[in-house]
Amino acid sequence: MSVLVYTESEQGKFKKVALEVASYARAVADEMGTTVTAITFNADDTSVLGNHGVDKVLKVNNSDLEKFNANAYASAISQAAEKEGTKVVIVSSSADSKYLAPLLAINLDAGYASNVVEAPSSVSPFTVKRTAFTNKAFNMTTIDTDVKLVGVSKNAFGVKESSASATAEDFSPNVPELTVHVDSVDKITGQVTIADADIVVSGGRGLKGPENWGMIEELAEVLGAATACSKPVSDLGWRPHGEHVGQTGKPVASNLYIAIGISGAIQHLAGINASKVKVVINTDPEAPFFKAADYGIVGDAFEVVPKLIEKLKEFKAQQ
């Protein structure tokens, strides 16, 4: 009966979203009066999961599953759900979770709600609040199947502490034949990614050219932030596509989003709306971003940003 949660790790260490989905699973389990079981793939120390509400960990250690494989992972999670008699499965909104979730839904005959931002408002009928229309609205959705699958939005529920201890046991699911093979992975190292970042610094066409991104990168470095850009900037080839945030690019759900030289087209605002605090720096006081932002500076980025970097450096030095 326990709630099953897929807790993602990378090189043996849990991602932040793993702790967030574990916290979410705890809230659902409390509502239903049951326990939380986590499934991990090649993770090292699983005891940390206990601090976020997990009672039991099913540890899969299999060298064939070193690299993420949606079909094989979905199959393993399905087998764990069946073994545990699970009625609710929780996954995150990471690229990998979103990849495997629909396959898992079919395996388990489970109704699936993605981009869920709050704990269920009711467990019978099972009702969740999810974002729709790319953050321009919310949709209350019921999941009507016996087994339910919930994909939790990043940075919406938050990481919650709970003092418990998790027991661990080895779990050896059958691994199906792998038919999608990862040939190579090209991953930025030593830089914060938009998906993981608590702070995102984003530049728009107001920066006039790719040669001016030095100060954006420096500001991001001071803040430990990821860099992003608006759609025109990526379309012009000033920055790589992977940095494009907005309705047709990546969604951003950071704690702090700083927009520099971005006017704030409706599609851009939709994509970043889930961020908690928004700051805009723009020369045009009529730019629509000022209506969406919490803090704003009407001014020239080329003067404001270097001063901001300097002040932040002083602030960081005092901390």
Binding site: K98, Y99, Y112, A132, A137, V180, T248, D294
Partner: protein, 248 residues
């Protein structure tokens, strides 16, 4: 190669979103509908397979007659045939079941859908379809090559990308990168004229239940006014972010 491109009929990205009937239905009045952007990248890639590799391209939508102009636009861009499954799209599972039936009857080798629609953002139809028809599946796909029955694709992952190899039958969840924005095609007059004569089959739905139901919509709470900071006093912004917003 027979390619099926799944086309969602969605509000244009600039649309203001409103609801009617006690916030239970999307208010489509005054809204312009377009091909879902993620699907359009896939359709354009399918055109490349048609022109370079002789693929046959069918577009499909699950929806009422009001979606036909969107399918006609896809035909004007260059698809060979269109199918509309004549039923209201209710949830991702029901749509995936209808599409699975279309794929089985049509014997498609490659299905290209968008990674998600920009209206409900479920991101589940391509994966569920792959699961239902037991095909290989790659989502967040930013490049795709097919050689015989072998396929090579690139997938965007958090913080980078990975290259995968797989084989047909294959379902793709596509996005920008499959082709560039500048590769997208605006239908010309000849395309529009030809599209009128191309077959648009209306197919009756199979019996398929739903697994989820939309109860109600809500709009985000109105937010307070922006706090403006003097550009000569950026220190104030640092203070506010630390003491008030508590984000640094």
């Amino acid at each position: 190669m027979k390619i099926l491109v799944c086309i969602s009929h969605v509000p244009d990205t600039t649309s203001k979103i409103n609801f009617t009937d006690g916030d239970t239905k999307f208010d489509s009045s005054g809204v312009q509908f377009v091909i879902n952007p993620n699907d359009e990248f896939g359709l354009t890639r399918a055109m490349w397979f048609k022109e370079k590799q002789g693929a046959d391209v069918t577009v499909v939508n699950v929806g009422g007659p009001e979606t036909e102009p969107t399918l006609r636009k896809a035909l004007a861009i260059g698809a060979d045939n269109a199918i509309r499954v004549n039923t209201e799209a209710k949830d991702g599972y029901q749509v995936a079941k209808q599409l699975a039936n279309v794929v089985k009857e049509g014997g498609y080798d490659l299905v290209i859908a968008g990674r998600e629609s920009i209206d409900y953002n479920g991101g589940m139809v391509p994966g569920m379809l792959a699961g239902l028809i037991d095909a290989n599946f790659v989502t967040n796909c930013i490049s795709l090559e097919v050689d015989g029955t072998k396929a090579t694709a690139m997938r965007e992952i958090d913080g980078g990308k990975e290259t995968v190899s797989t084989s047909l039958p294959l379902v793709i969840g596509g996005q920008k990168g499959l082709v560039e924005e500048s590769d997208l095609r605006i239908p010309n007059m000849r395309g529009i004229m030809m599209a009128r004569k191309k077959p648009l089959e209306v197919k009756e739905p199979i019996d398929a239940g739903t697994e989820t139901a939309s109860v109600k919509f809500e709009k985000p709470a109105a937010k307070g006014a922006v706090k403006l900071i003097d550009p000569d006093n950026v220190e104030e912004l640092v203070n506010l972010l630390h003491n008030e917003a508590k984000v640094i």
